[in-house]
């Protein structure tokens, strides 16, 4: 069979050119720059630089602060993704069942979507302000010795709480539309076949939401890795002692505040590799289980 041959023309290339231009300027070029920089050692004033092969990588990988940040990032991302998916799934299922005032519930739950991460961080800052923060006061009045300024775990709790809260509304929208995509008659057939609502949820509803859940898992991990930058920068700034700095935040701190361009570039190259591996893993192994 012969393939359909289109006449060669410049027009299609013209149409994709803006996108290619944007990707080149804002992604490919900086990425190449980062890879190049990661092989250089620069003096503190940026006057001279020296090609050092993999020394920056060796330094990064052997530094305990990077390892600690990497571990925090993994724990943080997993917790943020799992918690925000679980909470929003619960909320979506309950909101879907509501009959009276359903619209108000749904609108209120979606509202958070409109809030930018730094603003969410600012809100968190106010709620946890040691002088006037309501949550800070509440926790301490309940007898917890809550102090996120000094205690690393408490600080992690604060950033996770803000990050999850910010993401719940996004996930909620997707789960709600996913739930509404399940045919009503399938749900009804299940009501006739199975008495327990919990069992029905885990055997029918949840498997049918699997494509949505998988999609959200990818989105949420990416969010936890990269987009929480704004939240961390506004709320804890990585403190105490860098314990709440994710890898992305550490790249920024070391490169732009610490002026170690080579080391920070090496970190971002490592980050790129990690994300690529994670993405391949997700599509290879998890997506396989969700198709029907």
């Amino acid at each position: 069979m012969k393939r359909v041959q289109f006449e060669h023309s410049a027009v299609p290339y013209l149409f994709v050119a803006p996108q290619i231009l944007i990707i080149s300027i804002f992604f490919l070029w900086p990425a190449a720059q980062a890879v190049y920089q990661s092989f250089l050692l620069e003096d503190a004033f940026g006057m001279s630089s020296q090609f050092v092969w993999f020394r920056n990588f060796e330094d990064v990988l052997s530094s305990s602060s990077w390892t600690r940040s990497a571990i925090f990032t993994v724990v943080f991302s997993v917790l943020v993704s799992v918690l925000s998916i679980a909470i929003s799934l619960f909320l979506a299922v309950r909101a879907d069942e509501v009959v009276r005032g359903a619209k108000s519930y749904k609108t209120l739950l979606m509202w958070g979507y409109a809030i930018a991460p730094p603003v969410a961080g600012l809100l968190g800052n106010m709620l946890f302000n040691p002088l006037m923060g309501d949550l800070y006061m509440a926790f301490n009045s309940f007898g917890f010795e809550f102090n996120h300024i000094e205690n690393a775990n408490d600080a992690a709790f604060v950033v996770i709480l803000i990050a999850v809260w910010k993401q719940v509304s996004v996930n909620f929208i997707f789960f709600l539309s996913g739930l509404q995509g399940i045919p009503k008659s399938v749900q009804e057939a299940a009501t006739l076949d199975c008495k327990s609502p919990e069992r029905r949820f885990w055997t029918i509803t949840f498997p049918l939401l699997a494509p949505t859940t998988f999609f959200l898992l990818v989105i949420n991990l990416t969010y936890a890795f990269f987009e929480t930058f704004g939240i961390i920068d506004v709320s804890t700034k990585g403190s105490p002692g860098g314990s709440t700095a994710t890898l992305v935040y550490k790249v920024y701190v070391d490169g732009f505040l610490g002026a170690d361009l080579g080391g920070s570039s090496a970190q971002s190259v490592l980050l790129m590799i990690m994300v690529s591996v994670l993405t391949v893993f997700q599509f290879r192994f998890i997506e396989r289980k969700v198709h029907y």
């Binding site: 045919p183 008659s185 009804e188 057939a189 076949d193």
Partner: protein, 356 residues
């Protein structure tokens, strides 16, 4: 096997709309009951009330003398076949059929033998490991049937199960459903808007209109003695002809329009205004002999086995349909002589629509 009893069952929605107005009905052991009516008549709502998918606003529904108003759908011991199959898309066909049994705590070997038996009856043995999306419409409907029969329920509920299938498959599945129901002897309630399905499947037919059961009876009874104008017009295809008429002074005939006189042997008072109902198949062509009725041809539709002729009876623009066996060629304007025996004439009160 079981009986289903409806005692003044009513359904009123939250917005105040009354979908079902107090229906009384007793369905016997193993009886095949068909609910038929136009869309919006409440037939599906009534079925869903028996299933437990809709709450019962007033009155009682009992299965085997046990009131089920407050019983969960899964505990009513019923199985339902839906119009769009409603199979679980993520499960294999085997698991689709086994799902209900598993939730009712049957043993693994018992489930396996039941599912395989159902698959054998429905010729699905080769498709058990596949998913519903890999099957054709007819096969999917079979899996849905299989899911219902493995449960060996007291009552089968069918909600327009054949409307998504193409015409030929519909006829095959109709026979299959009838056959299966007779073999298993399970009490069944079947909802349809298709009167051929209704006539062929039903032991007992319930014609519904506006949330009310207009008539309950055997299909032939309903065809021969429709109690209301609505039932008369709904059952039978092409539909019954309705003509405005007036009973003559000597009560021996009814005058339709200004020239047609039909003989009567009904017991009806003289001079009363009535609606005369005549089925298209009950006219007889009289050839050239003088029949009592003469009418000119407006249009002819040939269907091969039969011919539909649309006639001008001199009552405005309305056509009167005549159905004759075989093929006939009538030119437009031809005057046909017709006769009809008095016992084939239905009379209805023009005001109330009730049979006289």
């Amino acid at each position: 096997m079981a009986t289903v009893t409806l005692n003044q069952a009513e359904k009123t929605y939250a917005n105040g709309y009354k979908a079902i107005h107090g229906i009384n009905l007793e369905i016997q052991h193993g009886e095949f009951t068909v609910l038929v009516g136009p869309s919006g008549c409440g037939k599906s709502t009534l079925l869903r009330m028996i299933a437990g998918l809709e709450s019962i606003s007033d009155g009682e529904i009992s299965i085997d003398d046990k009131v089920v108003n407050k019983v969960a759908p899964a505990d009513r011991d019923i199985a339902m076949v839906f119009q769009n199959y409603a199979l679980y898309p993520h499960m294999s066909n085997y698991n689709n059929m086994a799902y209900g049994l598993r939730n009712h705590g049957h043993s693994k070997s018992e489930i396996d033998s039941k599912v395989r038996e159902a698959a054998r009856i429905l010729q699905l043995e080769d498709h058990l490991e596949r998913k519903p999306s890999q099957l054709s419409g007819g096969q999917r409907q079979r899996v849905a049937m299989g899911r219902a029969i493995v449960r060996q329920p007291k009552v089968f509920l069918f909600d327009e199960p054949l409307s998504n299938l193409d015409a030929k498959l519909r006829v095959d599945m109709r026979l299959e459903i009838k056959n299966l129901q007779q073999r298993l002897g399970i009490t069944s309630v079947y909802v349809t808007h298709d009167q051929v399905e209704a006539m062929t499947l039903a032991d007992r037919l319930i014609v519904m209109n506006g949330g009310v059961a207009e008539q309950i009876g055997s299909p032939i009874d309903i065809y021969e003695k429709p109690e209301t104008l609505f039932v008369a017009g709904f059952i039978g295809s092409p539909a019954m002809n309705f003509l405005p008429g007036k009973v003559s002074d000597d009560r021996t005939h009814v005058v339709v329009g200004d020239k047609v006189k039909l003989d009567l042997d009904h017991d009806v008072e003289a001079g009363r205004n009535v609606t005369v109902g005549i089925r298209p198949e009950h006219f007889r062509l009289c050839g050239d002999d003088a029949g009592p009725v003469s009418a000119s041809v407006r249009m002819v539709e040939s269907l091969g086995a039969e011919t539909l002729v649309y006639l001008d009876f001199g009552i405005g623009n309305e056509n009167v349909t005549l159905r004759v066996q075989g093929t006939h060629q009538f030119a437009k304007g031809t005057v046909l002589k017709l006769s009809i025996t008095p016992d084939m004439i239905h009379l209805f009160d023009t005001e109330t629509g009730k049979r006289i």
